[in-house]
Symmetry: C2
Subunit: 304 residues, 2 copies
């Protein structure tokens, strides 16, 4: 059973209450606790040694990554982060300096985004270190961006460049907090997600949640240099590799040109690419030269 099937089973029929605006299934949970203008965003994310980082990764980067992943999810809903709790799993024999350096990396990032680190715990995990972050944020009720709002005809955009994150970016990426805020303020973003499972998988999350399909144009997909240096075809890396932590979103096609123009002025150092469109037909296809390929459930695995 794969992760997605298990999650479907586990999240069916979970307990809810009248604070729940959005439960499992988006970048963050959304809660209404009675603030007049804002909802709460609630997110947890864990990184595990040997899975999400190697034992020789710099501890500062491990700390940075763990918090940055959660920040990226808050960004993807156009929220602002507020406070974090940290769970640090350590073997019985550990190096206190390693733990302190993890916290130093995390704290530096937290200060940059005015996130309070308000506690957490250390726990024993004998075989490997792990780090889990729980993050609380808020979002304006009228700006909250879900995965489920994409409409047929929307243009699909992605920030930055995709693929090959494992070569370094997965440890030191910057969450697209400022960009997401700006997008939610100035354009009619219909759906947004951060690219953590890979472009194909995350666009699939948007189309599944929204009950639509998508067509992508291969030549428009921003393939990173790192994707070109990896072992697989670069286009496949850009579509399938995880942990890009870029923003993937849809806007009405009529806003696409204005968005590209305004973006260049606002964020001249960061690429923004229009990579395709949302379709009424629920299929998910890639136009690549003269060929058209179906993109299957979890990636770019079906070559015509």
């Amino acid at each position: 059973m794969n992760e997605f099937d298990l999650i479907r089973l586990l999240t069916a029929g979970l307990p809810s209450n009248d604070t729940t605006i959005l439960g499992a299934g988006d970048d963050c949970a959304v809660l209404d606790l009675g603030l007049s203008d804002r909802w709460l965003l609630f997110k947890t994310d864990a990184v595990v040694e040997g899975i999400h980082y190697t034992s020789d990764a710099k501890p500062e980067e491990v700390g940075h990554k763990a918090l940055a992943r959660c920040l990226s999810d808050v960004a993807a809903m156009a929220g602002k982060p507020v406070a974090a709790l940290v769970t640090l799993g350590l073997p019985q024999e550990y190096d206190p300096k390693w733990a302190l350096a993890v916290y130093a990396g995390m704290s530096e990032l937290a200060r940059r985004y005015r996130v309070a680190i308000v506690g957490g715990e250390t726990t024993t995990v004998p075989e490997r270190t792990l780090l889990s972050v729980a993050l609380l944020g808020t979002v304006d009720k009228n700006k909250c961006l879900k995965r489920s709002g994409a409409l047929a005809g929307d243009a699909i955009f992605v920030t930055g460049e995709l693929g090959g994150s494992i070569q370094g970016k997965h440890l030191d990426f910057e969450p697209r907090m400022e960009q997401a805020q700006w997008l939610a303020t100035h354009f009619s973003i219909h759906a947004m997600i951060d690219v953590s499972d890979g472009l194909a998988g995350d666009l699939r999350h948007i189309t599944n949640s929204s009950g639509v399909g998508a067509e992508l144009l291969a030549s428009a997909i921003p393939v990173s240099d790192a994707a070109r240096k990896g072992g697989k075809p670069p286009m496949q890396a850009a579509l399938e590799d995880g942990e890009d932590f870029e923003l993937l979103f849809t806007v009405p096609a009529r806003e696409a040109v204005a968005l590209l123009d305004a973006w260049k002025l606002e964020f001249p150092g960061l690429k923004l690419s229009c990579i395709g469109k949302i379709t009424k037909n629920p299929g998910f296809i890639l136009h690549e030269g003269n060929r058209t390929r179906d993109i299957l459930e979890h990636g770019y695995t079906h070559f015509a």
Copy 2:
């Protein structure tokens, strides 16, 4: 370096912001997000196979325990739980039925306390399962009970019976939510904590936070049957064993008798014991028959 020393190092100088009412160092973090009458409570807690439960523990009980630990911390601040996120660490090859049963145990408890489970994630931990819960709650600003409010002269109370939790109670205990709410509503509770590290260790958390000392009367300490059946002296088990998840709190001595009387009417099935008093002198001692023992930093280790 022990856990407490490490935590002291890790939590020194953590980033804060203007929402932080209480950061690391109490049962929950306390945040002011702008609600007129309430603060937010924020807590995470992890249980790890082989550390907090054995591989043959019933999965429903593992799920129960993971959430109940967090609920116990919210109770200890006189708060009400709202919503939880769940991180489930599983080996590559796992039994989906086990994971579903963990969720079933957790969901049953969540429904009883009207807690929404609003998502989380599964992650790979090859060697052992683990379960981390992040819990959000609220507390009336004028009822929030910290560890740091104990005053010289206060009577010290504990609910239930202590010691030997490892024989079963650590998996199926009920968080003292109702009792904590009742206490905060009807009496002038000065400080409260849930007994997770053991009576001696947790009372030490109260006295250290409050800048006071304590004297306990051994004959008043409610030693559980389970503590009498373990391998160590029962009084030592009652003082040192962890995971009792009872409430430990202090009230002005003048309210002690009225509290005991009212408690018996309100909670006839649950013992409440007055076990000693808070002292101005920062020492921590136990009167046991004719002898007086010093209780050291992390337990009952100094025999006269």
